[in-house]
Symmetry: C2
Subunit: 239 residues, 2 copies
């Protein structure tokens, strides 16, 4: 980036190698932009992407655009319907079933691990995020709800210290995100998630790993029930 400040040499003084402080390549930025579009619902299930259209939209050349698309295909977030046809996949019930099982296993594990590691500051931040969720629901601003909900969950998951797990979970969220966004207003009326979040917060305050895990699992199952019934009714409408 031509106006980026000169990078500082990595600080090794802590005796532990610090994260690399470096420019983000155009390919990485394209990848991040596409992920954000998927999560926000700007790219909806069924939509087709091409290297050239993404390049044009992001104002880059085909190489970084293709980097990003290739990476998302590798993650299962985008799929090939033909050798030259890349789309955002529709979420099937089978896919949702599998993704939910994986999420229960991994998000549950992360929640347990996090219970021993969150700080009082973390809990305060989670409370603030829950307030944002509540206000978003009150004001029917579903984008805010989704953003704050994700921030809530991932603050917890990151505290597990399991960066690989967090990356896997993020990929799972990305695979349901477009469908979730597509369907969201239909089931946002329910506030079941709010109570699960409050149970999770309680468990974190108490350092009760099993309770945090149970709350997160219930939250996942609750979301699953709603999404799956909508997928079923959506499929019945189509057939």
């Amino acid at each position: 980036m031509d106006d980026a400040p000169k990078k500082k040499r990595p600080d090794l003084s802590a005796g532990e190698i610090a994260p690399i402080d470096r420019h983000e390549s155009l390919g990485e930025r394209a990848y991040t932009s596409l992920k954000d579009s998927l999560v926000r619902g700007a790219l909806r299930p069924g939509m087709k992407l091409t290297v050239r259209s993404v390049a044009q939209a992001l104002q880059v050349s085909t190489t970084p655009a293709r980097d990003a698309i290739t990476r998302l295909i590798g993650e299962g977030v985008l799929v090939n319907l033909g050798p030259k046809t890349v789309v955002v996949p529709e979420l099937t019930l089978a896919a949702l079933d599998e993704i939910t099982e994986i999420r229960l296993a991994l998000e549950g594990l992360a929640a347990e691990q996090a219970a021993a590691k969150v700080t009082p500051e973390d809990i305060q931040e989670l409370e603030r995020l829950q307030e944002r969720i509540n206000r978003g629901l009150d004001e029917a601003r579903y984008t805010d709800v989704l953003d704050a909900n994700k921030d809530f969950h991932f603050l917890i998951y990151r505290r597990s210290g399991m960066s690989r797990l967090v990356a896997i979970v993020e990929s799972m969220w990305l695979q349901i995100g477009p469908a979730f966004n597509d369907l969201y207003p239909e089931f946002a009326q329910s506030r079941t998630g709010v109570s699960n979040h409050l149970f999770a917060l309680r468990g974190l305050q108490d350092g009760d790993a099993a309770a945090v895990r149970a709350a997160i699992e219930n939250d996942i199952r609750s979301g699953y029930r709603r999404l799956s019934s909508l997928i079923i009714s959506r499929q019945e409408g189509v057939e």
Copy 2:
């Protein structure tokens, strides 16, 4: 590929869309080749890769080589030590701990699901694979042991029908594979894994999901104990 047969049009007559019959791109082949090199131990922890050296080794241009490297970085199998330094990472104890927790969660789940789905033919194939493992141990042919062991586990995991989970597990195996290969002859003397495999086979024959899961989890824990003690002793030697 210039000598590939002309592709048949997808058969839609079954009322279900068939898998796409298509060429594999050079980038995908490069990715597969690199994965294979990592699993086989041809790429060892600490080794540095560059786009140009991979391109030369695989006799392709930089674009598919870079495709493959980028994808493996995205999966955590290769890492950047600097903006222009890509390496096969050393396996740390912390990384092994995390990967093992993820494996327990996901491979355990896959084992449970597979218990209801394997066929008598599958069980026969698993028995054959176990014989290959035994012969490999007898004859100190550790490459055969590793190959057959992987085939054994992944035959089970694929029967879960959870393709996303299988892909994640494969990525976890790839992250420990180079270190595993590096360390393998030192701990191949133990045959603990053999009994775990036999328990898994027994459970599959009985349709006992909990028993299959327990056997797979024990196998993972047993491997973890050996790897971790070797990592610790390796680190002590270095320090």
